[in-house]
Every structure is written in C-alpha cells, then in structure tokens.
C-alpha cells in the first residue's frame, strides 16, 4: 500500500506565471509520455514479473513517477496563478480554461485526455521491459522539446 509524504521530490518555486508554457508542460502530466502513464505502466507490470529485482525496481520507479507527477502539477499550478482574462486569451490557454479553469486535468498538450492506450502490460517480462526501455527513452525526447518550446 501507499502513504503520502507532504513534500515534493524537488522544490518548485515559479516567480512568473506563463500560461503558454503551462499548455505544453501539462503534457508531462497527462500526455502519452507523461508521468501518470509512466506510473501506471510500471505499477501494472510489476505483478507478473518473475524476478524480485525487477519487481523492486518497478515498484520503486512507479512510486517515484507519482512524485514526478506531483512536481509537474505544481509547475502547471504555479504557471497559471493570478491570470487576467486577457493573459488567458492571448496565451492560447483559453481552450483549456473553458473546460477546466486552472484545475489540474490529465491531458496531452494537443487536448487529448489521458488514456491507458498509451502503455502496455503484457504479462511477458521481456516484452514489458522492452516497452519500459522505449518509455524511458521518451524522457530524452521530451527535455529538448520543452527547451525549444
């Protein structure tokens, strides 16, 4: 089972709100390569793993992904604080705002809601670990994507 620790894994202190950036960062919460999917992937796959070492890693990484999700949500929350209606319209954050205001909703930057179709759990150790490698490689893709954005 799980318990909640009242702290972030790493502090988030954003001084300047930026709703245009929040529109992109939220994909790291509910997008196809986001933290919610990552956590569900590892925590779903671990049951049928035949080795205690792999079960341990999937349990502890899957738990850590939840901590990542909390940091991403803290970033989006702080990026969208104290916005004027003008800022919301001009930034393009209005399409998200009309449905969710500044509530945190797991969604991709494109607007597609989070979906379990973004990962697989096959019951086959090699297939699952290979999928995990592919999923982990998306981290290398995401970081330069956000920097360019």
């Amino acid at each position: 089972m799980w318990i909640y620790d009242k702290k972030l894994q790493y502090p988030v202190n954003i001084k300047n709100p930026n709703p245009a950036l929040a529109k992109l960062i939220i994909s790291q919460f509910g997008g196809p390569d986001g933290e919610l999917g990552a956590s569900m992937r590892y925590l779903s796959q671990r049951y049928t793993m035949p080795y205690k070492e792999v079960i341990g890693i999937l349990t502890d990484v899957g738990t850590e992904e939840l901590a990542h999700m909390e940091m991403v949500c803290a970033i989006v929350y702080q990026l969208t604080k104290n916005l004027s209606m003008e800022e919301i319209k001009e930034s393009g954050f209005d399409a998200y705002f009309v449905d969710h205001t500044t509530g945190l909703y797991p969604v991709a930057a494109s607007g597609v809601p989070w979906n379990a179709n973004t990962f697989q759990s096959t019951g086959d150790a090699i297939a699952d670990i290979t999928e995990d490698l592919a999923a982990d490689a998306t981290t290398a893709k995401e970081q330069p994507t956000y920097l360019r954005g």
Partner: protein
C-alpha cells in the same frame, strides 16, 4: 497463520484504524475523541511495526537498517 502474517494483520488493523480516523479528522480537526483514538492507534502501530522490522524486515525501504539490501528479499504483498 504463521507469526509473520499474524503480526502483519495486526499492523493492517492499526493502519486501517489510523487511516479512517485521519479521514474523519481531515473534516473534523477539532474532534477530541477522534484525536485520542488516532493517537492510541498510532502508539499501537509504532510498537507493532518495530516488532515487525526487528523480526521480519522492512515495510518501507526507509527502514532498511542492514548492511546488505534486504528490501527485495521479503515476499511482495500480492504473492500468496
């Protein structure tokens, strides 16, 4: 039931009591009876968890005290 499972069940009972009391206290933070109940279960939980750690190993990896990594050696909770 072996000693490990019996002790684990008592920890589960204390945890469940603490959890339900916490849910109630979240919306009734001034309730003295609930607070007293929470603290009673908390003391029980600490005592039981210490006994479990000593005899059967860690419940979380923060509790690993041995010089070798025994976190992965005890059974996972879904393995019966």
């Amino acid at each position: 039931m072996d000693k490990r499972n019996a002790l684990l069940k008592r920890i589960m009972q204390a945890d469940f009591s603490m959890h339900e009391a916490a849910l109630f206290l979240d919306s009734h933070p001034k309730n003295k009876a609930a607070m007293n109940f929470y603290r009673k279960m908390q003391a029980k939980r600490e005592e039981l968890a210490a006994e479990y750690r000593r005899d059967f190993g860690p419940l979380t990896y923060y509790e690993v005290k041995s010089t070798d990594w025994n976190w992965i050696d005890t059974p996972w909770p879904w393995q019966n």
